[in-house]
């Protein structure tokens, strides 16, 4: 191309599909073609799509496990420290650290730690809140939250070429292929 400016402001090329089968097939083909910097958009979760796009296994389960363990340890430590060190309290002659009686609060803290890390971990892994994203410049993108399916091959992919990628997307049986600016 004559100037590098238009390419640098290009976000990617977007193909629009009418049904989930076409999107999964197209995503798998694009992956087989060697494209990696791409994203697929669907109005509901499609398990096959995660596989087709080649997404690595999510780190979220590990984050939640760590959150739960931290909650568990924090809960039990708080109880033991508060009732044995900070304010030793003799209740009916029970030991200061009467661990069976500490289980309910330990359990609730475990759940709380795990649930907080599930939600905030999910948001962090998804990069949310994320108020601006170039894909929203696509004129019909609002339909991605209703009944349309989109595949975007991004300009940052090493294999990306305006003409060849455009032509490739047109072979996938899409409804329409559009370029999206950054």
């Amino acid at each position: 191309m004559a100037s590098s400016t238009p390419i640098s402001t290009l976000h990617g090329i977007v193909a629009e599909f009418d049904d989930p089968n076409a999107l999964v097939a197209a995503t798998a083909k694009a992956h087989a073609e060697g494209y990696r910097a791409m994203d697929a958009y669907a109005p509901f979760p499609i398990e096959e799509l995660h596989h087709a796009i080649g997404a690595p296994p999510s780190k979220l389960p590990m984050i939640v496990l760590i959150g739960g363990v931290i909650g568990c340890i924090a809960g039990f430590s708080l109880e033991s420290w508060a009732n044995a060190v900070a304010y030793p309290l003799n209740v009916a002659g029970k030991p200061f650290i009467a661990w069976p009686m500490f289980i309910p609060v330990t359990f609730e803290c475990t759940i709380l730690g795990a649930a907080l890390s599930a939600v905030f971990g999910m948001l962090a892994l998804n990069g949310l809140p994320h108020p601006y994203h170039p894909i929203f410049n696509h004129p019909r993108f609002a339909a991605a939250s209703t009944d349309k399916f989109f595949l975007c091959i991004e300009a940052r992919d090493p294999k990306f070429s305006l003409d060849r990628t455009h032509a490739f997307l047109q072979t996938l049986g899409s409804r329409e292929v559009t370029t999206v600016e950054d």
Binding site: A25, H31, D39, P45, H50, M122, S145
Partner: protein
């Protein structure tokens, strides 16, 4: 897994089930049908007609609480020996109602019960509103609610720490965790639908507010991947949580030594009772709403009948709990236990026990009949009777056990005052107000989950490469 579950009705060769979603819907029509309730400009008159009495009753709550804070809990009928009366009855009643929301959204998700999808959002909102109502009672019962933060462990200038061996402190942790996790679960479920509202709203303010709440959700495959895991894990975490919360609530009673409270059947029997009353409340609210908003396509007779079946099953467990309480009172040979049960059945509050058996044990037997289970009118009436019965159950447990314990010289009676009733009915007004606001401003049915139930959402081929 989901496929095999879907195939079961046909494979059995039994009578065809009513589908969980009426035929003829597409992604666009389900979206349009559910969002239009929220996005329409003109609010239906019926909504205002429902809101006005709800707000008025909630006003009674505001009045009662203001008077309470200015005066003290002496305005209630609580006394010695009945130190816990309407407030704890109402607390347990509301918490129990909330439990159906978590059961529907979490446990039924883990069991892959597809029919949960149409009702989970609404039931979760009901959980939040119910827990908010429940929280008012122990908070106000402290007498000085502005010092309620003393319940929490924090380094105070008094150098005091809570006694973690007390079930009341467990309750603080259980209920506040439950409220937090329920709110997170509900909001997480809402994020994709908020994005739908952002994209479908015609008004600038609507796009702004829903857009802000959706936080830039863009339905990306990567988003959905993490999202689904988070949602499933939250369901897995909420399931033991909901069981623990009502078990801890029952420990408030069971860990004491009072006859009528000190019993090991309490945790399972409280959890079953909670689900029983919760499903009754979902039916009480859902039956009129479904008609008012024409949601019969999504909340079909299959949903209504399944909820009736859950009520029947949990009602039987509750009935078993009552009979075991009576049996143990006799079998233990403990004269205080025996007296407690005899007093409960024939003492000054005999009417509450008789009504409780009538409401909770006799009424649900009608649910054995399929004709009753598929009649919305009959179910509406039964659900209200069950709600009354479950309130009476807690009243019986709290008041009849307390008013005559070991020493006849310390016996007494409890007489509710007008403020007891104003506070109780006031929370019902607050609950209705919150639910009406929810129905008006947020999608009452989970749109993205309904989309996955449509036949066109099924992806047939496997992806082109391994992983």
């Amino acid at each position: 897994m989901a496929d095999s579950v879907q195939a079961i009705p046909e494979a059995r060769g039994g009578p065809a089930l009513v589908p969980v979603i009426a035929p003829g819907h597409s992604f666009a029509t389900v979206t349009q049908k559910i969002t239009e309730v929220v996005l329409r400009k003109d609010t239906p008159l019926g909504w205002f007609l429902a809101l006005a009495p709800s707000l008025a009753i909630a006003g009674a709550l505001a009045t009662a609480l203001t008077y309470l804070v200015l005066t003290g809990i002496g305005i209630w009928g609580n006394n010695q020996p009945v130190g816990w009366a309407f407030d704890i009855t109402n607390f347990v009643w509301w918490i129990g109602i909330g439990h159906a929301g978590t059961l529907i959204s979490a446990i039924l998700l883990l069991f892959r019960q597809q029919w949960r999808t149409s009702i989970n959002r609404f039931a979760e909102a009901m959980t939040l509103a119910a827990v908010a109502c429940a929280g008012i009672f122990p908070l106000m019962h402290t007498g000085r609610p502005w010092l309620a933060y003393w319940l929490l462990p924090y380094p105070s200038t008094m150098d005091l720490w809570p006694n973690f061996k007390s079930p009341l402190v467990w309750d603080v942790f259980a209920v506040s965790t439950y409220l937090t996790v329920s709110a997170l679960f509900w909001f997480t479920g809402l994020i994709p639908d908020l994005a739908t509202l952002r994209d479908s709203s015609k008004s600038k303010v609507g796009r702004r507010i829903y857009g802000l709440l959706a936080m830039g959700w863009r339905n990306s495959a990567y988003h959905w991947q993490h999202y689904e895991i988070a949602y499933l894990l939250l369901a897995g975490l909420s399931t033991p949580l909901v069981v623990s919360v009502h078990s801890v609530v029952s420990f408030d009673f069971a860990v004491s030594v009072l006859p009528g409270w000190h019993t090991t059947i309490f945790p399972p029997y409280f959890v079953a009772g909670a689900i029983y009353s919760g499903f009754a409340m979902v039916l009480t609210l859902m039956i009129p709403l479904r008609a008012a908003y024409g949601m019969q396509d999504f909340i079909t007779m299959r949903h209504i009948e399944n909820m009736a079946k859950v009520m029947l099953a949990t009602g039987l467990i509750v009935g078993y709990g009552y009979s075991l309480e009576a049996f143990m009172a006799w079998y233990s040979g403990n004269k205080y236990e025996t007296f407690m049960m005899w007093n409960r059945m024939t003492g000054p509050y005999w009417w509450s026990y008789a009504l409780l058996i009538l409401c909770n044990v006799v009424t649900p037997t009608f649910l054995w009949s399929k004709r009753v289970r598929t009649s919305v009118g009959a179910l509406f009436v039964i659900s209200i009777i069950v709600n009354i019965g479950m309130w009476l159950e807690r009243f019986v447990i709290v008041v009849t056990s307390l008013h005559r314990d070991f020493l006849p010289s310390s016996w007494g009676r409890f007489q509710p005052t007008i403020w007891d009733f104003a506070t109780y009915f006031g929370t019902i007004g607050m609950f209705m107000t919150l639910m009406l606001l929810f129905v008006r401003f947020l999608p009452m049915i989970s749109i993205f989950e309904i989309r996955t139930l449509l036949p066109s959402a099924k992806v047939n081929q496997s992806p082109g490469h391994g992983h």
